[in-house]
Each structure stands twice: as structure tokens, then as C-alpha cells.
């Protein structure tokens, strides 16, 4: 992520450096070109000046006359003339005249007179036309540079001799390194560029003929075999660009070819200086980037260590907790930072730990209380069953008394006996109903398709109290198949029918009807009677346990409560519509079974 964030910065920095570099390069080349042009102009002007002066001397009338006069006696005269002419070329070291034979006829340095120069280039070439010589080292070690021009007779049809102007290389160095003040008073500093900038001249032998900024006494001692020199000598082309100079150092430079002496003038600036600003900029940028990167990495590291890692561990622990894996529900507190995040993780762990302990206690308590409840239930069942034994004894021994001693008892005593047996029977039923109710509430109640018509027929046939009223119960032929539990439904319909038959109006025989109404996948099964009906205020309480509509009729008060519970457990409902004195219509709503 950090890399993604820093990438645009790096790109921008790189692009900035690149565009600045190319701008600076153009700038540098421009400066080089300007400086080079300035130096070139001065050099050309100087060379031209030398040429013009040399040519002017070669046609000087006095000298020509002196030469035409010939004769060794005149050499003194010519020398005099040369000395005076030398004023015209202050840069010249010596001005001398050679005879047709190549002998120094006269010189501004009289000591040189008579020397033989017939084989030297400036004499050979100088006989033909103006000759600009190269800077060379003489056998005596002196560096010299000679220009020459033929001296012709007045009609210019005969060469009388050669005029030579000897100069010395420092003249050039003065020009290139700016010490020379030109006659025109031009600012010679203009072509010096910066600290490392220099202008120097290389001759045809690829030797430096001016002084170097860096190497003392460099004239004709420094080989300059660089790219612009080769380009000039081999292709005759000038160039501007970056290359290794004579010191092997990368420079930006421009070359100029001076055809007359065949020299190459080079204006150069060390690349390192030319591009110092860009390097500084780059350094600043790189420094900035490195700083940013290090800062970013440290920040990311800190971030990862102090924020992301703890949060991830909390998240994992939460997942484990949600998945019920309590062993991994605590986030590791190893290497937690001491900041708010660390505090958060620790608090969270404390909280989770407390909750888990509490939950563990609750589970334990729940288990204990479930065990206690189960034990209690088992015990109460056991007790309830035991309670039935004495009742059985009362009823059965009562039966025995009835069977064996009835004749010996008074009518009154037999009545007492009947009441006793009745009460015991009722209590036995109460207990039995209680057990059924309890089984219905806590037991399993698997749901299956149940054919209600068949079930109701079975109930009527099985229960003696119902079978007795078989002909008073009208069962509609279209009773449905529902989704329910057979045992529970058996209990429901036996209760409802029992109930319907029970509350007859005095002096009437019961009349009960069972029918069904289907709607929206549900079915309401009605059990209607024409009995005494139920007062409105009692209807709501009817389905509560131990609620009896009346005390006049026998019943345990559990039957309708069981119907309600059973219906609810089968996903249905029960209800009643009744008017006092108008009979009652009980209904149970169940889910239709779609085969």
C-alpha cells in the first residue's frame, strides 16, 4: 500500500528531474554555443588580423625594393625595416624574410640572419601563397607558430622571397583563457563559463596548443583525442554535446573548426558543474523520497504493529468466539502496543473473559437446574404414580364392599360408599389428566398427516362415554387430512366431544355436529352443540387449566386446556363462539395436509 502511495511521488520526482535535466541541457548547450561563438569570433578576428597584417607586410614597398636590390649589404636595411614593421603586429615574436633559396635574409631578430629554412613548410608553402602554419615544437624545444606569405616583385610575376611572422602559442592562450584584452576592448570574460568552463584549441596533431586550466605547461604536451576532435578531423563536422574530455572527465562542450590553420576550438564545461543544480535538485528529491519512504515504512510498520495486527487478532478472536471456539476467543496480548488500541484489546479480552466465565457459570447452573428439574420431575412422576395406588385401593375395595356386603348396608351407607368411590375415581382421573397434560406440554410431538374423519370415528368408537352418544353426534363427510399428531388430536377431539355432550340443557338429549371449513391452506374444524352455551365473560378463561365453565358438571378442568396446548403445538389455534342458552361452537384450526 505504501508503495502504491509513494509511486506517484517517485514518478513526479523522476519526471521533474527528467524535464529539468533536458531544460538544463538545452540551457547549457545554448550557453556553450554562445560562449563558443564569442571565442570563435575573437579567434577568427585575431587570425584574420594576423593574415591581413602578414599579407600587408609581404607587399610592403620598401621591403620589396630592398629585396629586389638584392645583395647581402642590404640585409641590414631590410632588418631595420622589419624591426619597424614589427610594430604593426605586436603579437609577433619575430618577423623575418627568407630569400628564394630559403635563407633568412633579414630578421627582426638580427641574430637569426643567414639561417637555412629552405626545407621548412612555411618556406615551401609560403612561396606559393599565404600560409598559416601549425603550432609546432622546434628541435630546440621552443614552441613556435609561423605565418608566411610570398613577396613578389611589383608586377607580381616573380617571387622575390617569403615573409614570415613567427608567433608564440601564449598569444593564443591569452585569447582562450581571457587574459588578452583585444584592441576593440571587448569583454574577454564573456566566454568563460562558470568555474570549470574553459576554451582551448587543438591542432591537427590532436595536441593542445593553448594552456589548460588544469594541466600546467600543456602546450603541445596534452593529447586531445576526444569525440569532437575526432568528429572534426574525420568528418569535418562541428558538434555540441556531452563527452569525455582530455582528462577523461564528462563534460558538455561545443567544437568549432578553424579551417585556415586547421585547428579545433573547444569550449567545455564540466558536466558535473553544468548539471550541479539538477544534481542538487535530484539529491533533494531523492533525500525527500528516501525520507518519505523511511518515514512511510516506519509509519506502516508502526501502523501494522500497533493498529492492524491487534485489530486483526481481535477480529479473529471474535470470529472464534462467534463460532463457539472458546479456546481461541482471547486475542493474543503478546507484543501489544501501549496505546489506546492495546488498551482496547486488553479491555475487550477482560470483557470476553468475564462474559465467558459468566456464561460458563450460567451453563453450569443451567445444567444443574435442568438436572434438578429432571430429578424433580422424575420424583413427582413417581409420587403421582404412587398416589394412584391408594386411590385404586379405595375404589377397588369399595367395589368389593359393594359386591360382597351391599345387602348388609343401609341405603344411606350405600350412598356414602358411592360418594367415596366417586370421589376417589375423580381424583384418579384428575391425576391421569394431569399426567397427560404434562406429557403434552413437555413431550415430543411429531407431526404427520392425520385423517380427521377416521380419527373422529375411532375416538367415538373407543371412548365408552362417547360411544354411548354415537347417534347424537353428526359427523360431516368432508373432514380433511391435516398435519398433526395423532395422539394429541385424539385427546383434542375426545375432550371437545366430551365437552359438547356434557353441557346439555336439562331435559334434552345432546345434539352435536362436527364439520370443517377450509381457507388458505388452513382448516377450521367445528364441534357444535345445542347445549347451555357459555357466558361471554367465561369464554376467555375456558381454555385455561383448571378453569371450569360450571361446577354443576363433572370434569377436571384440564381437557380444554389440553386442547389449547395441543393445537398450539401443532401450529394451530382453538376458539369458541357461544351465546348463553344458544349452544356453543368450539373450533380448532389446523394446517391442511397437501399431499
Amino acid at each position: 500500500m505504501f508503495i502504491a502511495i509513494s509511486l506517484p511521488f517517485v514518478a513526479a520526482g523522476w519526471f521533474g528531474i527528467r524535464s529539468t535535466t533536458s531544460a538544463l541541457k538545452r540551457q547549457t548547450e545554448l550557453i556553450l554555443r554562445v560562449a563558443s561563438n564569442g571565442a570563435e569570433a575573437q579567434l577568427r578576428e585575431f587570425l584574420l588580423h594576423l593574415k591581413e597584417e602578414t599579407l600587408a607586410l609581404s607587399v610592403d614597398g620598401k621591403m620589396r625594393n630592398a629585396l629586389e636590390a638584392g645583395g647581402p649589404d642590404d640585409s641590414h636595411n631590410v632588418s631595420e625595416i622589419l624591426i619597424s614593421l614589427r610594430q604593426r603586429i605586436p603579437e609577433a615574436r619575430e618577423i623575418f624574410v627568407l630569400t628564394k633559396e630559403g635563407r633568412v635574409a633579414a630578421s627582426s631578430e638580427p641574430a637569426n640572419a643567414g639561417r637555412d629554412r629552405s626545407s621548412i613548410e612555411y618556406f615551401v608553402e609560403g612561396q606559393k601563397s599565404f600560409f598559416a602554419g601549425d603550432v609546432v615544437r622546434r628541435p630546440d624545444g621552443e614552441t613556435t607558430w609561423v605565418m608566411s606569405a610570398p613577396i613578389r616583385n611589383a608586377t607580381a610575376d616573380r617571387v622575390l622571397g617569403v615573409l614570415a611572422v613567427r608567433l608564440e602559442p601564449p598569444v593564443l592562450s591569452e585569447l582562450t583563457i581571457g587574459r588578452r584584452i583585444l584592441r576593440e576592448g571587448a569583454d574577454t570574460q564573456s566566454f568563460r563559463i562558470g568555474e570549470t568552463g574553459e576554451t582551448y584549441i587543438v591542432n591537427r596533431e590532436r595536441l593542445m596548443i593553448t594552456e589548460s586550466r588544469d594541466i600546467p605547461d600543456s602546450v603541445l604536451k596534452v593529447k586531445v583525442d576526444t569525440l569532437p576532435v575526432r568528429t572534426a578531423l574525420e568528418k569535418g563536422q562541428e558538434m555540441t554535446g556531452d563527452y569525455s574530455d582530455y582528462r577523461g572527465i564528462l563534460v558538455s562542450g561545443a567544437s568549432v573548426i578553424l579551417r585556415e590553420p586547421g585547428w579545433i576550438m573547444l569550449t567545455e564545461i564540466d558536466f558535473s558543474q553544468a548539471f550541479a543544480p539538477i544534481r542538487r535538485l535530484r539529491n533533494v528529491l531523492v533525500g525527500l523520497m528516501v525520507g518519505l519512504s523511511v518515514g512511510g515504512i516506519m509509519l506502516a510498520g508502526t501502523w501494522a504493529r500497533e493498529i492492524v495486527r491487534p485489530l486483526r487478532m481481535v477480529s479473529e478472536a471474535d470470529l472464534a468466539l462467534a463460532g463457539g471456539d472458546e479456546a481461541r476467543a482471547m486475542a493474543s496480548e503478546e507484543n501489544l502496543p501501549t496505546n489506546e488500541i492495546g488498551e482496547f484489546v486488553r479491555r475487550r479480552n477482560d470483557r470476553v473473559k468475564a462474559l465467558m466465565e459468566r456464561q460458563g457459570q450460567l451453563v453450569l447452573e443451567q445444567k444443574r437446574s435442568a438436572e434438578a428439574a429432571a430429578e424433580l420431575e422424575r420424583m413427582s412422576y413417581s409420587i403421582v404414580h404412587d398416589m394412584r395406588a391408594p386411590l385404586r385401593a379405595i375404589v377397588t375395595f369399595g367395589d368389593l364392599v359393594e359386591a360382597e356386603a351391599a345387602g348388609k348396608l343401609s341405603e344411606e351407607a350405600r350412598g356414602y360408599l358411592a360418594r367415596m368411590r366417586g370421589a376417589a375415581t375423580r381424583m384418579d382421573r384428575l391425576i391421569s389428566d394431569m399426567l397427560s397434560y404434562s406429557a403434552l406440554v413437555r413431550g415430543q410431538l411429531p407431526l404427520h398427516p392425520v385423517n380427521v374423519a377416521k380419527l373422529v370415528d375411532g375416538v367415538i368408537e373407543t371412548y365408552p362415554s362417547l360411544r354411548a352418544h354415537k347417534h347424537e353426534i353428526r359427523v360431516s363427510p368432508d373432514l380433511p387430512v391435516v398435519r398433526g399428531n395423532e395422539a394429541a388430536l385424539t385427546q383434542c377431539f375426545s375432550s371437545l366431544l366430551d365437552n359438547a355432550l356434557k353441557f346439555v340443557r336439562p331435559g334434552q338429549s345432546p345434539k352435536v355436529a362436527i364439520r370443517a371449513e377450509r381457507s388458505n391452506g388452513m382448516v377450521k374444524i367445528f364441534v357444535e352443540d345445542e347445549g347451555v352455551g357459555i357466558a361471554r365473560h367465561l369464554q376467555d378463561k375456558l381454555f385455561g387449566i383448571f378453569q371450569r365453565g360450571t361446577s354443576a358438571q363433572e370434569g377436571t378442568g384440564i381437557g380444554l386446556a389440553m386442547v389449547r396446548i395441543a393445537a398450539a403445538r401443532m401450529g394451530g389455534r382453538v376458539g369458541v363462539n357461544s351465546e348463553e342458552g344458544q349452544g356453543s361452537r368450539f373450533w380448532i384450526e389446523l394446517t391442511l395436509y397437501e399431499s
Binding site: H385, R392, V395, T396, D428
Partner: protein, 157 residues
């Protein structure tokens, strides 16, 4: 082994034992009844151990009727013990209990009981039950096989 159709009744409640005897009498069922008051004694009886060594006085039963809830060892213990004694030649065992719990009934049948009856309230019903027991398991005085009958009577609630 002498089998004269003796019924062994394991029942801790003296009233119930008395009423069962009465029901046999009222129902005219002549089979002798041996009564023990818990499963421990029933096992001794079947094993012919201790006081029950005399098979003339304590003949090997043709039918065992047991209550479930008894002191010392329960009816379930008796059923489990009988299951582990194939050499006893397997008198059928019928449970006669005060419990109408499905779980008790299922448990008893799993342990090899051939019938399960809930003690009825009233002499008349008890007589009817005695008849049914006789017809199902004592009709030929000596029960030929050990076939398990699933005939059950579920008394009305």
C-alpha cells in the same frame, strides 16, 4: 420341571397384590399364585435359591407378572436378569405397573417383557385384565414357546 401354570407375582403393594389375587378368584382363574414383594425375591424364586429351594412349595412359574417400582431391585432389574438367564427356559414376563409413561413401557418391552398393563382402577376392570392375561399366556397350562406377543392393552385415560 413341574409346570402347573403357577403365576409368580412380584408386587410390593400389599393392596394391589391382594386385589390381583381377588381378581383371579372373582374371575374363576384356578392357577396358583406365588407372591414375592420385590425383584430380589423374584430372582431367588426363579433361581430356586434359599427359602424357595423347595419346588413343591414353590413351583417354577408359567407366567411372571411384575410391578416396576419396587424396593431393592425393580421390575426392570428383574427383566434384565431374566434376559441374561437363557437356561431358565424363559417364563413370559408381563408388566403390571401404575405408570402409564411411554418411556417405561418402551423400556420394559426392550428388556423382553411380553406385555405391559397399567393397573386399572376398580375391581371389575382388574377381573377383566386377569382374564386377558390367562387367555394370552396361560390358556394351555404350559406355555409352549417363548414367542413374544405385542398384544397390549392401553386402558382408557
Amino acid at each position: 420341571m413341574n409346570r402347573n401354570g403357577t403365576i409368580l407375582l412380584a408386587e410390593d403393594d400389599e393392596n394391589d397384590a391382594f386385589l390381583f389375587r381377588m381378581a383371579l378368584k372373582k374371575g374363576g382363574i384356578p392357577n396358583p399364585l406365588s407372591h414375592v414383594s420385590d425383584a430380589e425375591d423374584a430372582i431367588d424364586y426363579l433361581f430356586g435359591a434359599g427359602v424357595y429351594a423347595n419346588r413343591t412349595l414353590h413351583p417354577f412359574p408359567s407366567l411372571v407378572i411384575t410391578d416396576l417400582k419396587m424396593p431393592r431391585r425393580t421390575g426392570f432389574d428383574l427383566l434384565a436378569w431374566i434376559q441374561d438367564q437363557p437356561q431358565l427356559n424363559c417364563p413370559p414376563v408381563v408388566v403390571l405397573s401404575g405408570s402409564a409413561e411411554d418411556s417405561d413401557k418402551e423400556h420394559a418391552l426392550r428388556l423382553g417383557a411380553v406385555g405391559y398393563f397399567v393397573k386399572p382402577p376398580g375391581l371389575e376392570q382388574m377381573v377383566r385384565l386377569a382374564h386377558e392375561l390367562k387367555e394370552s399366556w396361560l390358556a394351555p397350562l404350559s406355555h409352549p414357546t417363548c414367542s413374544v406377543s405385542n398384544r397390549m392393552q392401553q386402558p382408557l385415560a
